[in-house]
């Protein structure tokens, strides 16, 4: 192996696909998934972590990925189909450090038989090796050989060669226990059962954020909160998770009654910044993190008795608050402090929305997101029609999770509100 002489000081690197191949059969979702797997290939052998950034992020990611052709404002112009395929810049403080460019005139493929096009995953793994600080290698089985060697198989099963692992670990060390280490001696006798754990000991089992099925999701002052049982995760406006470990509900929301162990809906009220948490037939109003006053009945917001609320969100376009129960929704006028007449209405007016959503929220860019199970439906700003490519898996976009594996256990998107039209279902890596 060969080292470029530079490396990243930090261990969490951000990335984003800035432009996609124009004439490839690969969807943008597939391209992003392949990039995620190519980065993860380097991450599992080191302590490195990779976070995909949204396009609205305030800062540029460490690794900006582009598909470009011919001269593209750096000193490595591409040369059309064949010849040079891609390049990446070594780590450093320069804004282009880490950036990775693919020749958009190549025929980028995934999973096709050798000889057809150029396997995007194989080239991406190579280029990210450069972006992490590796030079070219002459070792026969190295991914860092300068010449394209064809596809390297299934992205979720691919493993770096020893030469590449050694080069990488020279730079970033080794994760204490990579998933591939084979025990070299009999495992020790199992330890005695641990004593009863204090209630919020860090080693208490916590829910898996990548499994979806959240109880509530809310945009609170630009941060997105994902509630599940007596836990929640927080996503900063940059798209970065505050922590992969969830925080305890009652330690954060001071005054929330201890018997309230699940939040079924939540939203931040625009007019005064209060935060409302819903559970059962009641809701609680918080000023910042402190409870303000006693529990209130849902009737205060115009909902008839007979159950909880599935989802609540406030629409900045009209300052109204929408409360969803099953297939119906009510609207509450925050300014007039009274429910709007003529409700409830059928949720199918939000074309493509799933019934009984886990929750709904409006992003910082003004798009409306319906969440249910492990999927989300995106409604562009001001629109009541879901994006055609909805639903999409929550994990990879929001919570730094790998794309859901394909197979019988893969979480299937729940039936959305049916709408007329042919269904052009294609099976791709991310579906």
């Amino acid at each position: 192996y060969a080292l470029s002489g530079s490396m990243w000081k930090k261990r969490t690197l951000t990335w984003r696909v800035h432009s996609f191949p124009q004439s490839s059969a690969l969807s943008q979702e597939t391209v992003r998934t392949l990039m995620h797997h190519a980065l993860t290939t380097w991450g599992v052998e080191s302590g490195l972590r990779f976070q995909e950034m949204g396009s609205q992020g305030p800062t540029e990611p460490d690794i900006l990925i582009d598909f470009a052709r011919a001269y593209h404002q750096d000193s490595y112009p591409f040369d059309g189909q064949g010849g040079t395929l891609a390049h990446a810049f070594f780590p450093g403080e320069h804004s282009i450090s880490g950036d990775t460019h693919f020749d958009d005139e190549e025929t980028w493929t995934f999973g096709s038989k050798d000889g057809e096009g150029t396997d995007l995953f194989a080239v991406a793994v190579h280029e990210f090796g450069h972006a992490l600080g590796l030079g070219h290698s002459s070792a026969p089985d190295s991914i860092m050989r300068p010449f394209y060697q064809g596809p390297v198989g299934n992205p979720t099963e691919y493993r770096l060669s020893q030469d590449d692992r050694e080069g990488l670990q020279q730079l970033y060390g080794k994760t204490p226990q990579t998933p591939y280490d084979k025990p070299t001696r009999k495992p020790l006798a199992p330890p005695p059962p641990p004593p009863a754990l204090p209630p919020d000991s860090p080693s208490q089992p916590v829910p898996d954020r990548c499994a979806g099925n959240f109880d509530a999701i809310a945009n609170i002052r630009g941060e997105t909160f994902f509630f599940k049982g007596p836990w929640f995760w927080r996503l900063q406006p940059s798209g970065q998770l505050v922590s992969s470990r969830p925080a305890r509900l009652h330690r954060f929301w001071e005054g929330l009654p201890p018997q309230v162990t699940v939040i079924q809906a939540a939203y931040a009220r625009h007019r005064d910044g209060r935060i409302l948490l819903f559970s059962g037939a009641q809701f609680w109003v918080f000023q910042d993190r402190q409870l303000e006053g006693a529990a209130r009945p849902l009737a205060d917001l115009g909902l008839p008795p007979g159950g909880a609320v599935d989802a609540v969100f406030s629409w900045p376009l009209n300052g109204k608050t929408y409360l969803i129960r099953g297939q119906r929704y009510w609207r509450y006028d925050e300014a007039a402090a009274r429910p709007d007449p003529g409700y409830p209405r059928d949720l199918s007016l939000w074309e493509g929305a799933p019934h009984s959503p886990d929750d709904v929220t409006v992003s910082n860019t003004g798009d409306t997101y319906f969440f249910k199970g492990a999927h989300y439906w995106r409604f562009p700003k001001g629109s009541v029609k879901a994006e055609p490519d909805s639903p999409q898996p929550i994990g990879p976009k929001w919570l730094d999770c790998p794309a859901p594996s394909v197979g019988p256990r893969a979480p299937r998107p729940p039936k959305a509100t049916l709408h007329p039209g042919a269904c052009d279902c294609q099976c791709e890596i991310s579906q």
Binding site: Y1, A2, L3, S4, G5, Y76, F78, G82, G83, T84, L85, A86, H87, A88, E106, T118, V123, H126, E127, H130, G135, H136, S138, P140, R145, P146, F147, Y148, E166, Q170
Partner: protein, 87 residues
Amino acid sequence: AQEPSAQDVSLGVDWLTRYGYLPPPHPAQAQLQSQAKLRDAIKVMQRFAGLPETGLLDPVTVATMHKPRCSLPDVLGVAGLVRRRRR
């Protein structure tokens, strides 16, 4: 092996220079490119390409120079940026 054509040699030297096997030409010095230096550069390139290390611009070596590849240089030795670690 048959002698490579002048064009192959010229293209070969350009290719070897582009990918770091030969130092970039310097018009002021116009340092002579000794045959030995060219032969060594070809041998290193053949090692990267997994070819027999003949040191000659034989047809298979010339053909390999047209194969799809990464556009970063293989050897950044000029500025000592690449530390080659022998195992």
